[in-house]
Symmetry: C2
Amino acid sequence: MRSFFPPQRILMGPGPSEVSQRVLQAHARVTIGHLDPSFQSLMEETKAGLQVLFKAPDHVCLPLPAPGTGAMEAAIMNLLEPGEVAVIAINGQFGERMADMAERAGAEVIRVEHGWGEPIDLRKVEAALWARGAKVLAFVQAETSTGVHTDPGPLCALAREHGALSIVDAVTALGGVEVDVAGWGADVVYSATQKCLGAPPGLAPIAFGPKALEAIAARKTKARTWLFDVSLLMGYWSGVGGRTYHHTAPINAIYGLHEALCVLFEEGIEASIARHRRCHEALAAGITAAGLEFLTAKADRLPQLNPIKVPEGIDEAAVRARMLATHGVEIGAGLGPLKGKIWRIGLMGASATPLSVRTCLTALTQALMAEGFEVSLKDVLSAVEARLADG
Amino acid sequence: MRSFFPPQRILMGPGPSEVSQRVLQAHARVTIGHLDPSFQSLMEETKAGLQVLFKAPDHVCLPLPAPGTGAMEAAIMNLLEPGEVAVIAINGQFGERMADMAERAGAEVIRVEHGWGEPIDLRKVEAALWARGAKVLAFVQAETSTGVHTDPGPLCALAREHGALSIVDAVTALGGVEVDVAGWGADVVYSATQKCLGAPPGLAPIAFGPKALEAIAARKTKARTWLFDVSLLMGYWSGVGGRTYHHTAPINAIYGLHEALCVLFEEGIEASIARHRRCHEALAAGITAAGLEFLTAKADRLPQLNPIKVPEGIDEAAVRARMLATHGVEIGAGLGPLKGKIWRIGLMGASATPLSVRTCLTALTQALMAEGFEVSLKDVLSAVEARLADG
């Protein structure tokens, strides 16, 4: 076994995204104890930073020691008890995953199915909420499998009207599009570090609101998880003086998240969202100039996750392999029913730059030409520059 | 919010332990995609390295994206279905945690209670296994809360005789004392990165044996976890070509673990164990020369976790605070019934060096003197040097 040195890559898939040298260096600072007074201060700052980022001043915010899927499990397992009803809106892979987890929590799951590539339909969800008294309405704001954005505000309002708690998956959303937990009145919202936050994968920020915590305190049975039991986790993250040992926090990963939050606040959350939007528009101009099409309608598109249809007769895997080999550019494949049908181009966090857009489109165009697809690199790049010059 | 720069510390508590610059640098290498071909090679090497480390050539070995507690949850939730019987031997905090988790899995738990500081009693466990047909026998090899070592071999044999699967918690054991999964015939064994492996906290290596995987394949219900469902995880870690997306692996943490494995294999597993033993003996000589006592009988002691009784009339928290303030040395407090009664001195991974032993004992002796305890620093250090000179 020998030391591993990763190759140079430009990460433009569905995550992980680029991590800046500044965040990587923070990630590599010397490990200290998780009960050290100075680490406790770092935890407090991280909690406060997440409250600002989620726009959730009244929520308990903390980073779970797990991938985004761990936060999904925490949300589902803490809010649902056996026999309770969960309405899950499904419009892609991550909605499916929520439904699977809710079944494992012992809940009765009402699945509100949509086509992959469609946003969530309020009327369908409302019909499901009328059917039976649901404890929870869960859905994905930014479906990473399809690149579809759903506005959480109206769905959270609907949940409230029906006395249900809302769970919003904002894994790919946070930092790239508006996330406004207080404005939506959302009960539980979670994300992950490796998408638009610019930190390495491994942590899952989550926000639990007052009504969610009340429901958790009123549980009749223990949650079907110990590691993610929020009543125990809150004791560990409760602040200097009163902390109770729970697990050993992933110290260095929290250094990385903290630094990524510093970077994000220096840029400004709104500025970060505008940068994602601007890069998306430049990419979309190039995609159109290349004669390619989006899977999604314009109104539903996530700037940070661009689902591009694979043209008839093109070997999609060969295109991705060539992009990686010639330019070091990684883009994503389709999942589930979209396997072989789309590419997923990510513009997340530090990957959302004009330079990445140009490099990615150059690599894609050249790979398409190698596959016999007719396209002009000059036209593609001109369209990008015209869009960027527009602001 | 401003960048965080950790203070200089010497980590001699119950974990995290020191992380070498070499491992920290690996941890900070540039993030690549989790589906990148070169990351797939790294995963293969890491799996193979864990098989060697666990001495488990026939087990599926992989690092879970979570703290050690996540591996405990994975073991319990995968092996147990509602209504099945689990015998859990409890001789400290982590045995208690296993019992709590097994109840959350829906199992009927037979608790085999021991005093905190005692090793596990084979006869008591055998009596419990006779009582009812148990599916699982679970116990902790290295109880981090008490510093007690229990030899897993005879317990695993007992489980086999009674047709039960064995779960061995080797969180603090692996790399510091003998772990021989194949030799014991253990079914599921897990650990964590921040103890004797010398990597930052955040990953939990786990080994599932053939009988455990058979039992998992024969489950009638889905495991009460999606993130840690080993039938799904194996698809993600299945090797080049056949991988199925599950979660996003914590790329940089795996760089760190891989490098820590390189370091460990360069030293040699047996040499690492001998180093832990040698440092423990030097520390114990100093502890005795200081007029202090171990909580545990000599035969049961873990070299890497030394539980030292707090002398009558000494403010244990003041001693720890002074050690941290004057020498930057972190040691651990007691947990549960041992709170205020013991200190826990860790000698784990890169923290297990003669230099750390000297510094820790110097800091401890001076802090004790400040509290009015009579002790000679010269005698303490002479005892350490004499023991080290002995080999």
